[in-house]
């Protein structure tokens, strides 16, 4: 086994197969934005604190600034671009209806963290929502409306009988 500066990885991003040669030092966040042209994943602190870069990796929410693309052979990544189909995802609808975003910088991270929460716990209490979103920072101080939106989306998803 030889350590390499560039590594070829095969993975799935939002359901599409991707094969790419990446620098060892390329984070997943930069890989998505710069190599794959998916700028929906935002980068804030690049040290795992702000939550803006949150994506799903094999179904669970992670910080894409703290994972290297080289590590992702055979993985499945989902970004905010994968949420909407022909219509907005119920979480996106609920964020829209509840004015749960102002500048929007943190929104992709909040949406992916909320999606992870609702996948695991389809009817969370308000306290559970607050804990689940505690790793996401919104500098426009929009937390109340974000929590409200996640509650509404949970209800909408349940009455539709579908998974998050």
């Amino acid at each position: 086994m030889q350590p390499l500066e560039r590594i070829r990885v095969h993975l799935s991003v939002n359901g599409h197969a991707v094969s790419q040669l990446v620098d060892a030092r390329r984070t997943l966040a930069d890989f998505l934005r710069s190599d794959l042209g998916l700028p929906g994943t935002h980068i804030g602190c690049e040290q795992g604190v702000c939550g803006a870069c949150t994506v799903l990796l094999d179904g669970v929410s992670v910080r894409s600034c703290l994972i290297f693309a080289a590590q992702l052979e055979g993985s499945a990544v989902e970004t905010v671009e994968g949420l909407a189909g022909d219509a907005l995802h119920p979480l996106q609808e609920a964020f829209h209806r509840n004015h749960a975003l102002q500048c929007g910088y943190c929104s992709p991270g909040f949406l992916m963290a909320a999606r992870d929460l609702l996948e695991e716990n389809p009817s969370p209490s308000e306290a559970e929502i607050r804990v689940a979103l505690s790793g996401q920072i919104c500098r426009c101080t929009g937390y109340e409306n974000i929590v409200q939106a996640v509650r509404e989306a949970a209800g909408a998803l349940q009455s539709e009988g579908r998974d998050a």
């Binding site: 086994m1 030889q2 350590p3 390499l4 500066e5 590594i7 620098d23 060892a24 030092r25 984070t27 930069d30 690049e46 040290q47 795992g48 604190v49 939550g51 949150t54 990796l57 669970v60 929410s61 992670v62 910080r63 600034c65 703290l66 994972i67 290297f68 080289a70 590590q71 052979e73 963290a113 992870d116 929460l117 804990v131 689940a132 505690s134 790793g135």
Partner: protein
């Protein structure tokens, strides 16, 4: 920032990781969950020339009971352990401690073994491992060895692992039935590093005296430590508020906290006293309940 350039190699088993570590020495770092290492790399506080990724090693994410201990493999994620039935039923102390590590997204990747190897003095898992008299299993070029927690944590980000060893498992001895427990931590915000964290275990004899007392603290010095003098004070006595207050005071005197940007040494000492007192009460309430 972005990390400095490095070369990447994925080890396919522990033996290969040890071989790579031996071949590349100080130039290499091991990557498990990466939730402490990668921020340090992004901030250029750490600039390994070679990153040896452990994440492709199969069968290393076990969370099982073996010889009366919870065995946690090197790739077991904090999130998986927090939700594991065996942790909920047999070692809720560990689940409670994990729930205080960062946030869900950090715990999705972060490992328990990695947390011990990183050895941040305010970390939760080392505090629990130490309270339970657990140990770390390590594999090196000369074979395997088990290192007791009491000998493992040497100081700020320093452990007893040699530069050629890979930590493969943690063993948390399961407390006897009826043992009360508590994990308490104070941080300014949910998910922040603990200013002080306390693990407590208490078991009462049939006649109501304390027959086991374990107290460990994080955030109060260069490494987590056991409050041995406070433990000795508690043994063979009947628990009451005055005894707990005395033990809490003793614990606050046997730690050596430092001043830093988070808190002064005096504040940490006072916090330790308060948390130890509360942790003993909480552990006693659980011990009494489980005996009855």
């Amino acid at each position: 920032m972005k990390p400095a350039s490095f070369r990447y190699v994925a080890a396919s088993d522990v033996h290969e990781a040890v071989t790579l570590l031996s071949a590349h020495g100080d130039a290499a770092k091991l990557l498990a969950g990466g939730q402490s290492l990668v921020p340090m790399m992004n901030l250029r506080l750490s600039r390994p020339e070679i990153l040896i990724d452990l994440n492709r090693i199969s069968g290393a994410d076990g969370i099982t009971v073996e010889d009366g201990a919870l065995r946690v493999g090197m790739l077991a994620r904090q999130r998986a352990a927090e939700r594991a039935d065996v942790v909920r039923t047999r070692l809720p102390l560990l689940g409670e401690a994990i729930s205080r590590i960062g946030h869900t997204q950090i715990r999705s990747r972060g490992t328990l073994v990695g947390s011990c190897c990183h050895a941040d003095p305010s970390a939760e898992i080392p505090c629990v491992l130490l309270a339970l008299d657990g140990f770390v299993r390590a594999q090196g070029p000369d074979g395997m060895r088990d290192i007791p927690a009491a000998d493992f944590f040497l100081g700020y980000f320093q452990t007893a692992l040699s530069p050629k060893e890979v930590a493969t498992d943690l063993f948390f001895p399961l407390p006897a039935a009826g043992t009360g427990w508590a994990f308490l931590e104070f941080a300014r915000r949910h998910g922040d590093f603990a200013i002080v964290a306390v693990s407590a275990l208490l078991r009462l004899s049939a006649s109501g005296e304390i027959e086991r007392a374990a107290l460990s603290l994080s955030g109060v010095g260069p490494a987590p430590l056991r409050a041995r003098r406070a433990e000795a004070l508690l043994l063979e006595k009947r628990p009451d508020g005055a005894l707990f207050a005395q033990a809490a005071r003793e614990a606050s005197q046997e730690i050596e906290p430092a001043d830093d940007v988070q808190a002064s040494a005096g504040y940490r000492r006072q916090l330790a006293q308060t948390l130890v007192g509360r942790a003993l009460q909480e552990a006693l309430a659980r011990a009494a309940k489980e005996v009855a």
